[in-house]
């Protein structure tokens, strides 16, 4: 029997309801946990930011709702595009599957989240680089 191939447009249709639910949850999460940042974003800026963050999360192979919400939190605090700035490059590296890092993206996010909290508590991440 010939294998069935799911075409790209079929995949998009399958993905759409999941993404909408995730988007709604992320917007609610932003208003609940990052109210000041959410309030500072005008018009559709918050929606655009959350859309972009969900895309980035998928690119880092983060797929669960919990991981995506935590990732959205990180982007609301530190901004997006971590790969572009020297000050945030380490964040991008922490989520990449380097040799020696965990093979599981969720585990890498967990380790990175802990590292971010630790560095913030030591005052090692200067303010002003992100949205917060």
């Amino acid at each position: 029997m010939a294998p069935l191939t799911i075409r790209a447009e079929q995949m998009r249709a399958l993905r759409a309801p999941f993404l909408q639910r995730l988007f709604d949850a992320a917007i609610e999460h932003a208003h609940r946990c990052h109210a000041d940042v959410a309030a500072s974003l005008h018009g559709d800026d918050l929606a655009a930011h959350v859309h972009s963050a969900i895309d980035s999360a998928a690119a880092y192979d983060l797929a669960s709702q919990r991981d995506v919400l935590r990732f959205v939190s990180l982007t609301l605090v530190f901004g997006g595009s971590w790969n572009d700035a020297p000050g945030t490059r380490w964040m991008h590296d922490a989520l990449m599957p380097h040799a020696g890092a965990s093979r599981d993206a969720s585990m890498r996010l967990h380790a990175f989240y802990g590292e971010a909290l630790a560095r913030l508590s030591r005052g090692e991440i200067p303010a002003g680089s992100g949205l917060a």
Binding site: D55, A63, L69, V77, G130
Partner: protein, 432 residues
């Protein structure tokens, strides 16, 4: 009541800590349907990196290797089921071209592409040894088709076209010159399109040093490409990489490579005991290493004297010593890593050169591997064609290893390195 004198807490720390607590009850099940279900489009690719010292001629090698050597290169590439093969160390032969016009003779320096001619012979042999691969050869050249060299050396890429794989291009990039590692300042960049069933084709970018250290005053090759965002760098140095970490660090930094899995086994064949001893011990009156090269019993009897340390010879393939001169690096600058190195290993050329009946006694205790005895027939041809090996030498394990080493030195002092890579698709936008 706020504690007097308490340090201010970073509001970002408080927000992130609260957000972490808030997500504790969120679902840990996948919410984003990744392409192809939960599997990222990817394929496995075997890349063989082989620095064939002075292929095309040089101080130690003639412009053309014997046919059995050409067949040996092809047989090993076929046996390892490589998809792409980087051939480094190709030399051109300098020559002077004389032209005559109206009775006036003009002399001009030129390069005879003897190394590339040898690579074409390897391709022809490979097309017979692995016909189903539909192999092709690509070498760096300028816009008019003239081969590019640096330090009199160039590189070549063999790749399988089977399965619809196509060449996107081969260009030249700026790299990092380092005399310690024998590197010029340029890289050759091969780009292939790899079809993937049911998905968009993948792009595979492979870089390797174009040539060797440039001579003083040498005209630099034209740079006609730009460095890709993510790539694999196949790297072969003339020096021991484990002893020279600094230069390798500099090369890695120059191309911002982010992964450097150094080999756990040597990839450059060391000299045998008596060859090393004759160079370092001036007290030796006679040197029998060129007579009966595979007769170590004779060397021990004729050359050893009590002032020298006891001879030490490899009796199995695992005893053969060498250094690390090759590496495979990756650069992953996109959010989803494009390249992962699943395994990098040195091909055990000693086991490849052993006959099937010799593997059990001389092959060491390694598990059977693809290269085993793949070059046995070519080594037999070498023995027939090489009288200095000593036709009457006793067949002891040390002599068998010595004979294999003589054959392998003719192929190259570098042993090939096989990198098994995972090539992945770039991340699509989740909202695409």
């Amino acid at each position: 009541m706020k504690l007097a004198g308490a340090p201010d807490t970073d509001p970002r720390l408080a927000a992130l800590a609260a957000a972490d607590d808030a997500t504790a009850d969120a679902s840990a099940a996948d919410a984003i349907v990744l392409p192809c279900g939960a599997v990222v489009p990817q394929l496995e690719l075997a890349v063989l990196v082989w620095n064939i010292r002075e292929l095309g001629g040089g101080f130690h090698m003639p412009p053309a290797r014997p046919d059995y050597c050409i067949d040996a290169y092809a047989a090993l590439i076929a046996a390892m089921q490589a998809d792409v093969c980087v051939l480094a160390g190709l030399r051109g032969t300098p020559e002077r071209v004389v032209t005559s016009q109206d009775g006036v003779f003009t002399y001009a320096d030129a390069v005879n592409d003897t190394g590339i001619a040898e690579a074409k012979k390897i391709l022809a042999s490979l097309q017979k040894a692995a016909a189903d691969g539909d192999w092709a050869l690509s070498t760096p050249a300028d816009s008019s088709g003239v081969a590019l060299y640096e330090g009199g050396t160039t590189s070549a890429f063999l790749y399988k076209k089977a399965g619809g794989r196509t060449l996107i291009g081969l260009d030249t990039l700026n790299g990092r010159a380092d005399a310690t590692l024998g590197l010029g300042g340029h890289l050759a960049h091969l780009s292939l399109k790899l079809p993937l069933e049911g998905d968009d084709p993948l792009t595979f970018d492979l870089l390797t040093p174009l040539g060797a250290t440039a001579a003083k005053g040498e005209k630099a090759p034209t740079v006609d490409g730009t460095q890709p965002t993510s790539f694999v760098l196949a790297f072969s140095a003339s020096d021991d990489l484990t002893a020279q970490r600094g230069p390798l660090d500099a090369v890695q930094s120059a191309v911002t490579a982010d992964s450097r899995p150094l080999l756990a086994h040597g990839s450059v064949l060391g000299d045998s005991f008596w060859h090393a001893t004759t160079r370092s011990a001036g007290g030796l009156l006679d040197d029998f290493t060129a007579i009966g090269a595979a007769d170590l019993e004779r060397h021990d009897a004729e050359m050893h004297w009590e002032a020298l340390p006891d001879p030490k010879h490899a009796g199995t393939s695992t005893d053969v010593a060498g250094s690390v001169g090759d590496a495979v690096l990756t650069r992953n600058a996109e959010p989803r890593a494009r390249y992962a190195v699943r395994e990098v290993r040195v091909i055990d050329m000693m086991r490849a050169a052993l006959g099937a009946d010799e593997i059990t006694t001389v092959g060491g205790d390694a598990a059977p591997c693809d290269e085993d005895s793949s070059l046995g027939a070519m080594r037999a041809s070498h023995r027939t064609a090489t009288p200095y090996l000593g036709p009457d030498a006793p067949t002891t394990p040390t002599n068998i290893v010595a004979e294999c080493a003589d054959f392998l030195h003719l192929l190259s002092d570098h042993w090939p390195v096989l990198a098994t890579l995972v090539v992945r698709a770039p991340a699509p936008a989740a909202h695409a």
